[in-house]
Symmetry: C2
């Protein structure tokens, strides 16, 4: 496995998210700090910028970013928060909102989120509600946030009663995904993010999934193939978001693997030592294809192929892979019923007829889920 | 002054707010509880409804409303909050959001706000962010909220650093303004709401202002003229909102009288014993016309006519009318600079060339404001 990062001197790739009046560009490439600062300054010449980041990311990347922003004539304030999912709380939301007001961020100014999904979701939500909405820029620093949470405008915090239950749709004005940031990720974090990459292939792009099966080593080496994988993922996500910004239909496809996955995260109480989001999605993807086969929707080789690739890259694929996990079928079903996409107690799943042929399946009977999970847990 | 309420047996009047995909009806009339319940049930047949109200309103009206909702086959939960501006806080926002999740309000269900502007702003904001947005219905119980805050989708809470600094644009799905609710208002509250009624005349409808000057006694008697005044106000507000939903331009006209008014509310620390919002607006309207004259934009008889009508109905018109108010010119200017419509320290005012001929004036020099206020405070 070629682990030496390939020097990437290519210009960044651009993906456009076209939304009436709220369109924006996603740029993907390597070493984009100065590039990002220039684009931010172009959005708000000589204006104010508030950088929201966490302790881990701040120690690695904040100084370089702030210097670049200052160099472009911007007035910069920085708000550094504790790392981890715990920051997606009401208390931290208030803290960020008050910091933005204190920093005199006005309509026209910019919030810049520097970090993973937690920072993007939290600071993006704060941007959505301070002065009833100021613009924000996403500088995602993890693979997961580069291919998923930084694109599409979903922002929010967790409720004690469930994840992401409080939030807003608020589109960023710019996303810059710098793969140089990925060099500082742990192998586990990178791998977890990769689960969301292959999800796009599984949803509606069999060729991309096959490309992943063939090229994953180059993606993990974080060279040009990594840029390609991220750009392809952003393109896929952008296409879905453009069709259904507010998740009234098709956008639900992006939840492939997530109905199961969210339940597991919930049941381990979001203890990332045991399970991070991408790992939960990996298990969820395997289960979504197994469940599709269980319902007679696809042939048995489909889940086998999905599971094989997940295993190859080192991702978990079975409920039993979660350390010390003892939840019963009823526990899992109960956790799934808490999902915010539940309507009147009927479960909506994303199921598949083939690799790259997924669809929204409404009104799935809970008893079918119970039968399926019983079999899986006994296996 | 005929203080006996006139029996109003006319059908309610309807004002339509046309917004692409988010249009809704405002109904105005007397004794509309059953009518409102029927319309709510039509929006969400056999669904869940969470009624958010305050202690004062709950004791007067909640039982009747809940009975009507139950009669229409809805599942009803009720959340009763402390009365008063203090409820527009982060803590109460969290409380309402958690109550909505606890009540299993899902996408498709409805939040019903029963109360004045505080309840509408708070519960409307909670509806905007729970599950990234659920629908809500406004049942405003004060004149102020019937003619202003319940229409147009502005929701929010207060920051310790300023009023309404945190919030969202979230349009209601239905507004029912029942003037029977106004019978339980104190004369002071009703009068304060009336300041927002005449504001619509002053903005762009000289004929409506003249009608108010002639008909105000009938409006205060809460008969058919009151319905007309509210409907006319809602029509005026709806027209502005339809032109500029997100306040990027024209909608700022609705702030006539508010740049000064908000500063006074801020300086009395929102002590409603000393100053309620409508009273602050009344003084603000007088000052906006006086300032317009000071800048040479209108003749001196314009502010005199505005002040005369405000005085006739018993509203305050001078800074000196605020009990124990000792703020200096600098205090007032500083408080105005905190307004969320400030852009880069330049003040935006709504000024007028005549009754019904107001306009957005950007880039007003702060020194002009200082000179004007010095004169006013010495008068």
């Amino acid at each position: 496995m070629p682990n030496t990062p390939i020097l990437d001197v290519k210009p960044p790739q651009k993906v456009r998210v076209d939304l009436a009046g709220r369109g924006y560009d996603i740029w993907i490439g390597r070493h984009l700090t100065a590039f990002a600062a220039g684009h931010i300054a172009a959005l708000n010449p000589n204006g104010r910028v508030a950088v929201i980041t966490d302790e881990t990311v701040a120690s690695l990347h904040a100084k370089t970013l702030n210097a670049a922003l200052l160099e472009h004539g911007l007035t910069v304030s920085t708000c550094i928060l504790p790392s981890g999912e715990g920051s997606k709380s009401y208390a931290m939301l208030k803290h960020v909102c008050e910091a933005l007001i204190e920093a005199k961020i006005e309509r026209g100014d910019l919030v810049v989120t520097l970090g993973g999904g937690v920072m993007g979701d939290l600071a993006g939500f704060a941007a959505a509600i301070v002065r009833r909405g100021v613009r924000f820029v996403q500088l995602p620093t993890t693979l997961l946030s580069q291919v998923d949470s930084s694109v599409g405008g979903k922002t929010g915090i967790n409720s004690p009663q469930g994840k992401n239950l409080i939030g807003a749709f608020h589109q960023p004005s710019l996303v810059v995904a710098d793969i140089a940031y990925l060099d500082t990720l742990s192998p586990r974090e990178f791998r977890a993010g990769y689960a969301e990459v292959i999800k796009y292939g599984l949803i509606n792009d069999a060729a991309f999934f096959a490309w992943c099966e063939a090229q994953w080593r180059d993606v993990f080496a974080k060279g040009a193939a990594c840029t390609t994988a991220i750009a392809q993922s952003c393109l896929a996500k952008a296409a879905v978001v453009m069709r259904d910004e507010f998740e009234t239909g098709d956008r639900a496809l992006l939840n492939l693997g997530h109905t199961f996955g969210h339940a597991f995260e919930r049941l381990v109480r979001y203890d990332t030592a045991r399970l991070v989001h991408g790992e939960a999605v990996a298990i969820g993807l395997a289960l979504a294809f197994q469940f599709s086969h269980f319902l007679g929707l696809c042939t048995p080789d489909m889940p086998l192929r999905v599971i094989a690739h997940l295993k190859t890259v080192g991702l978990p694929t079975r409920i039993q892979d979660i350390p010390n996990f003892s939840a019963s079928v009823e526990d899992i079903v109960e956790a799934m019923l808490q999902d915010k996409k539940v309507q009147r107690g009927v479960l909506t799943f994303i199921l598949a007829q083939d690799i790259g042929q997924s669809f929204v399946a409404k009104g799935i009977e809970i008893d079918k889920v119970r039968q399926f999970l019983s079999g899986v847990l006994e296996a």
